[in-house]
Amino acid sequence: MSIPLSTSGPKMQDYASPVPCTWCDGCGDYGIWGATQRALVGLGLHPWQVLMCYDVGCHGNGADKMSGYRFHGLHGRVIPLSAGAALANPRVPVIAFGGDGASFSEGVGHLVHAVRSNYQMTFVLHNNANYGLTTGQASALTAQGQKMNSSPNGIPEETLNSMDFVFSLQPTFVARAFSGNIPQLTEILKVAIKHRGFAFVDVLQACPTYNKFATHEMLLERCYDANKEGHDPADLAKARALATDTSARIATGILYQNEERPAFHERLVARQGMTTVPVDEVGIVDMSEYMKELV
């Protein structure tokens, strides 16, 4: 995606909001929030040049905690909302933020179809492996054997292997990050936002209040930067293996990227050669030619 660069670069304070954050102490949402702003500033994007869309959840409570055009929609629906926005104006980078509850339960179908549709947008998964805002119920990504709100005996379902799942959908961009590593996340987001197509960024997010199994400390210990260790994001098989197997260590970084496949809007035959985008095109259309066919 080519992003128009503005002449005078934005500053961090341009993204500042007068509204104080309300996350718990130690919440990983702070890190994602900070990295997002850094990435945008790093890309030279002003608040008015981007649209950030938020799902409902603890992460979604960040919708009014920074500047920029934003939309705070429904639980589980941030992906199609963002995709619709991105299709209407692919010139504006659209970043969607969603929780694991939203993305692997209520709205899992949207994730499936966004990956295969390869919409031009970034999806940041706030993966705290539970339903934070509704006070700690299990999500599809909650570990086995954990007592959670409404699952006092632990969950009877298998935990979903989210990476194997996403890779089965033929993604064009998969990254994993950790909310505690802001510099790395910032860099990942910068690439993701520029990616041609759907960029899936799985951020392992500490939730000290409800997630007692994948804590900040545990993640800090087990995450490593796979790119630094030489992983090439063009290597799909390796990427999938790294992404899927987290038993010993957790690979982070840009695990997979492929920009050869065009984004959804670029694949539309009817719109080949158009120099405008749908937001430019609103106006009465002359129907004479259409009517001729019907006489």
Binding site: Q49, R70, G73, P80, L81, E281, V282, M287
Partner: protein, 606 residues
């Protein structure tokens, strides 16, 4: 009014639609007004289906229950559709050596003087070495001959269609000739009498409501369409999709209705015009999004194509059962606009208005249609392209305007009509949050009771503002010896309305049959020569009631006509005015109102 009704029946996939369409096109081109009506079952092939054409030299907007000719492709039609014939009607069939055996059938044929004609299609095609598909042309030619129309008219049609394929054209022309010849042999004296054609119809468009709506949507400047197949909304998706290479619209078949609705709202938020279409069950799934756009104040356009529910119901039949759904669904309280189309004119004209109202009031607009309108074939005067305009309300796009904006302008509650300024992501201005939580004026979440109340009230004020600008329902009056007269140029309220003795109230697709029936009365035949007015509601929520109340006060009788079982418009009229409509003509069998049926139901009430 002289009305001739042709009904082509057979198994789905057998050619019913082809013959129907060919006849329709030919007759319209010759100078007739056509109203086409399709019945088919919720399965792919083999279900018994029909394509009925009602034909006149005058305006015609409904189907008759009884027809002049049944053309059947198989033996089922012989039995199933025999009783669809008027006295003296023609049963044209193609089942070799068919004999009616049931004594009731034989009695019926004798009493009603039904003329049964067997067309040896297979034999003829064999003789001509023509493929089965050419049977359609052959049959059409026979019908054409029976109608007393000229062979050349039909020849021109096939020439237009197959001109570039020489062999095929030749074979088609042979079939036409053979059809005319066969008729001379089989039924030289049998005829279907058409009135003189009227050239005004020749230039009319022949299109379904779905096609009309598709054109209206494109005309309105809608640039993204997010659909999901569901009868009777899928024909619109097909129309829009098939036109995409011409319109350059962005068309997406989404993975489900929730997606389609969310994408539409996302695209609208971004600043284009977008819409989605579905039927009842799919609409249920969209209602959470409907409610969301109520609080985010995002313009949205939902097309709700009705079919009989509940559940899967009767997927390929018609109903007007989702008015309360459109008004009452989606949690919480928020403004919305519900309008209903009634014919191909509305399908086109109302679409720009739907988008305009959605953008002016930053609300969801629901456009109700139904299976009847979606699939009926209308004879439509070419659309006036000068009428529509794009009105985007308080959308700020100019540089100075944008510069002057503050974030808190977005949901500033101090506006008397409840509508505050709106601007688009990607424009250089103060930013805001389109907020689904209750919020302050810049879209910051709030839990403050007073702030919340101010926003709620702000939004609800749009309803009053809207009610003030929406047109009153249209009144059509039958006057002694005259056709139906519309009293609505310009649309006005109250005092200058002639008081009517009988007030008929309705909405949606019932308009067609009601007008046809009233027009047929011309008051001559009606006892006591009462004056009758038909009040047609296009805008259903918020509901304007001044005209209704004024007319109701003077009317001796009020009759409600609706294609549902509970009288949904009647209920909201009572809720808003306290007036009970005692006389109701309701219908819950999935069929539209047929001309004679409705005529006698109304007459009974007079």
């Amino acid at each position: 009014m002289h009305r001739l009704s042709l009904k082509i029946v057979g198994a789905q996939g057998q050619g019913v639609n082809s013959v129907g369409e060919m006849c329709a096109k030919g007759l319209k081109r010759t100078g007739y007004c056509i109203f086409g009506y399709r019945e088919y079952m919720s399965l792919i092939k083999g279900g018994h289906s029909s394509y009925q054409l009602d034909v006149s030299h005058e305006m015609i907007r409904s189907s008759a229950r009884l027809v002049d000719i049944v053309v059947t492709f198989n033996h089922h039609g012989l039995e199933k559709n025999l009783r669809d014939l008027k006295p003296g009607g023609i049963m044209l069939h193609q089942t070799p050596r068919w004999k009616f055996k049931k004594s009731e059938d034989l009695a019926f044929i004798a009493e009603q003087k039904i003329q049964v004609i067997e067309l040896p299609t297979e034999e003829i095609l064999k003789k001509l070495k023509a493929k089965a598909i050419l049977g359609n042309v052959l049959i059409t030619a026979v019908v054409w001959a029976l109608l007393g129309r000229k062979k050349e008219e039909l020849e021109e049609l096939v020439r237009e269609q197959f001109g570039h394929k020489k062999d095929l054209l030749a074979m088609n022309l042979t079939c036409i000739a053979e059809g005319f010849a066969t008729r001379e042999v089989l039924a030289p004296t049998v005829t279907l009498s058409l009135p003189e054609p009227n050239p005004q119809w020749k230039d009319h468009l022949l299109l379904t409501g779905s096609q009309a709506m598709g054109l209206g949507i494109i005309h309105a400047g809608c640039r993204c369409f997010f659909g999901y197949p569901m009868t009777p909304a899928s024909p619109l998706l097909t129309v829009i999709a098939d036109l995409q290479n011409q319109s350059k619209m962005l068309v997406k078949q989404a993975e489900d209705e929730i997606t389609a609705a969310q994408m539409m709202v996302g695209a609208m938020h971004m600043g284009t015009r977008a819409c989605t279409a579905t039927s009842g069950g799919g609409f249920d799934l969209m209602t959470e999004t409907l409610s969301l756009s109520g609080i985010t104040e995002t313009p949205a356009v939902f097309i709700l194509a009705q079919r009989p529910g509940p559940g899967t119901g009767l997927p390929t039949w018609t109903a007007q059962g989702d008015l309360h759904l459109a008004i009452g669904s989606g949690h919480g309280e928020y403004p919305r606009l519900v309008m209903a189309v009634s014919d191909s004119q509305d399908c086109f004209d109302l679409m720009p208005e739907a988008f305009n109202r959605a953008e002016e009031y930053q609300i969801s607009v629901m456009v109700l249609t139904d299976k009847q309108i979606a699939e009926a074939l209308f004879s439509q005067q070419p659309y006036d392209q000068e009428k529509a305009e794009v009105r985007r309300g308080k959308l700020v796009t100019n540089v100075e305007g944008l510069k002057a904006l503050k974030s808190a302008d977005r949901y500033a509650p101090e506006v008397s009509d409840g509508v505050s300024k709106r601007w688009l992501p990607g424009t250089d201005a103060a930013t805001f949050c389109g907020q689904g939580d209750e919020h302050t004026s810049d879209g910051t979440s709030t839990e403050d009771g007073q702030v919340a109340l101010a926003q709620m009230e702000k939004r609800m004020r749009k309803m009053e503002a809207l009610r003030g600008v929406l047109p009153e329902p249209e009144l059509f009056v039958v006057e002694s010896g005259k056709s139906v007269v519309s009293r609505d140029e310009p649309r006005k309220v109250g005092s200058d309305d002639a008081s009517v003795d009988v007030l008929v109230v309705g909405w949606g697709s019932t308009k067609g049959p009601v007008l046809d029936v009233l027009e047929s009365y011309k008051l001559e035949a009606i006892s006591h020569k009462q004056s009758i007015g038909y009040l047609h509601y296009t805008y259903l929520w918020p509901l304007r009631t001044e005209r209704f109340v004024a007319l109701a006060a003077k009317a001796k009788k009020i009759i409600l006509i609706e294609g549902n079982l509970t009288g949904q418009l009647g209920a909201i009229l009572k809720q808003e005015t306290g007036i009970t409509i005692e006389h109701k003509i309701l219908k819950g069998d999935g069929r539209p109102f047929f001309f004679e049926e409705l005529s006698s139901l109304i007459q009974k009430q007079l």
